[in-house]
């Protein structure tokens, strides 16, 4: 067992929200393929069909999606939760436009969740996700309100589509979040050169996959400098070295989403590669958390060097 954000994970590799998480049997399949925990598709207060297609475009280095938060509402999602085999912890991702929507969802799904992940970061649905999750005051207040009504751990998923993600992270921590998850997808679009139509039905969407790994790493790195609560790293993880990078930047666990496209056995594969790496180095995974911060700040180092040079002159 591996503790992170007040839950005992089977291992630190977690299925990210929105990926094969809309049915109980699909979650079971990923749990059986070695995930340390699974996060459900984001669940709302009312049914949503999602955006018209195309909802997903493969780009050179990742995926651009605007699926549009389709979900059966918390009422009907219970059917799926009842099918879940509990082979690993279950984190229920939730979204809402306001306190009353979120309260209803949390109260009704409380008994099924090992933790909640508050999606304040979906980049392509008006009035939800990052529309409200980019305001630190809202984030702090809503986090505090939800903490009041649930005993379960609460993770807050952050959007990278802001000036300074640490402001949102600090707001979540001040509101009482047990962990932050960074990052959600990065806003983007593509255009059909034949017709001029945007390639996504929703015009714009969120970029995931290898292309956003440096953005995710930078976010985790910055958050680690400012937060006390654990950080779960997400964005472009496809192999064990990506996981190590996120840990070194400051993550205590990671979520994997788009990486499943090439390899549904990605959790088992990364786990075994990680074990090999750690055995060879003779270290524990926890020792990697934030390692880059202990290697000295490059800027300080450069300042020191120029001072030495000046002295020599």
């Amino acid at each position: 067992m591996y503790e992170c954000g007040r839950i005992d994970l089977r291992n630190p590799l977690i299925l990210a929200s929105g990926i094969l998480g809309s049915t109980g049997s699909s979650l079971n399949r990923i749990a059986n393929l070695g995930a340390g925990a699974v996060v459900t598709k984001s669940i709302g207060a009312t049914q949503r069909e999602g955006h018209p297609g195309p909802v997903l475009i493969k780009t050179d280095t990742g995926f651009l999606n605007a699926v549009g938060l389709p979900n059966p509402s918390y009422k009907y999602f219970v059917e799926e939760l009842n099918d879940f085999n509990r082979d690993c912890p279950l984190i229920i991702s939730i979204f809402g436009a306001n306190r009353s929507e979120l309260t209803k969802i949390v109260e009704n799904l409380e008994e099924y969740a090992d933790a909640f992940e508050l999606n304040l970061s979906c980049p392509h649905v008006k009035g939800y996700g990052m529309d409200i999750g980019k305001d630190p005051v809202f984030v702090e207040n809503i986090t505090r309100e939800i903490k009041k009504i649930t005993k379960k751990p609460l993770w807050v998923k952050l959007t990278p589509n802001v000036d300074d993600i640490t402001k949102i992270g600090i707001a979540a921590e001040n509101g009482g979040a047990d962990a932050v998850v960074a990052i959600n997808t990065v806003r983007g679009m593509r255009i059909d050169t034949e017709s001029g139509y945007p390639l996504l039905g929703n015009v714009y969407g969120g970029l995931s996959g290898g292309a956003i790994k440096p953005i995710g790493l930078m976010a985790v790195y910055s958050l680690y400098k400012r937060l006390k609560i654990p950080i779960i790293g997400v964005g472009g993880i496809e192999g064990y070295k990506d996981v190590i990078e996120y840990f070194m930047a400051g993550a205590r666990a990671v979520e994997i989403g788009s990486g499943i496209y090439n390899n549904t056995n990605i959790f088992n594969d990364i786990k075994s590669d990680l074990d090999t790496y750690l055995n060879k180095k003779g270290i524990k995974l926890e020792e990697l958390v934030g390692l880059v911060h202990k290697r000295g700040d490059t800027k300080e180092c450069n300042d020191q060097k120029s001072k030495e040079r000046e002295q020599k002159c």
Binding site: G18, I19, L20, G21, S22, T23, G24, S25, S26, L27, N28, R29, I30, K41, Q47, R48, E49, G50, P52, G53, P54, V55, L56, K58, F63, N65, V67, P70, N71, P72, S73, Y76, F77, E79, E80, D83, D192, E194, S195, Y197, G201, G257, S258, I260, Y261, T264
Partner: protein, 224 residues
């Protein structure tokens, strides 16, 4: 996936080498009928798996409704492989019957309509029981059609103990088409129709939700 720009993107199989055949059922398919000569579509694919083909074999094709479309393309490919083909076509009525002439060119065809307006009256299952004496002569049975038809055939083939010699092309709400979003997952194994399918052996789906319920665009289970 076929993209009708500004409307939606929908999953469609080929019915000839370079053609699709579409039934008017919703916004996107209706929009397809409003296109003019020379207009273009967006295409993404091919996606998912395909029918497995045995060289020089004897096969049975069973198609219901628009499910006949991919079977015509399959029949053309099988014919080139020297396959001996029999086809069963199930249709609502005479008006909605299609591809029977095309399939007669490459296979022995039996027809049924629900209302008896053409061919045998009854379901394609009745047609199968009446016109095919011995299922064991077929090296493979290929099926495409509505869920209820698939379920009836699954149960029959299970009883006859030939599920491993049957392949079904299955339909669900497909959104991403790449096996990522999970909208087309079928219970209880979480098989993704868009990526693990759309073609499954009978053995893979005999215990599945097919013919019992399916999920709508929001993911709510709807009993059939």
């Amino acid at each position: 996936m076929v993209w009708i720009r500004g409307i939606d993107e929908i999953p469609i199989s080929l019915s000839y080498k370079n053609a699709i055949t579409v039934e008017k059922v919703g916004l996107a398919t209706n929009a397809l009928f409003n296109l003019d000569k020379g207009d273009s579509l967006g295409l993404r694919g091919p996606l998912g798996n395909k029918f497995k083909i045995l060289e020089g074999s004897t096969v049975l094709l069973i198609g219901g409704g628009i499910g006949l479309a991919p079977l015509l393309y399959l029949a053309d490919v099988l014919k080139d492989n020297g396959t001996n083909i029999t086809t069963l076509i199930g249709s609502r009525n005479k008006e909605s019957l299609f591809f029977d002439d095309e399939l007669k060119k490459v296979s022995k065809v039996f027809l049924s309509t629900d209302d008896g307006s053409f061919g045998t009256k009854g379901s394609v299952l009745d047609l199968l029981k009446n016109s095919i004496k011995d299922l064991d002569v077929y090296d493979m049975v290929y099926v495409c059609g509505p869920d209820r038809m698939i379920r009836a055939l699954l149960d029959l083939f299970d009883k006859k103990n030939i599920l491993e010699k049957t392949q079904f092309s299955v339909s669900r709400i497909i959104k991403c088409g790449l096996g990522i979003c999970g909208s087309c997952s079928i219970d209880p194994k979480g098989l993704r129709v868009c990526r693990d399918g759309p073609v499954f052996y009978g053995t893979e789906i005999i215990d599945s939700e097919i013919g019992i319920y399916m999920r709508d665009h929001a993911g709510v289970r709807c009993r059939l």
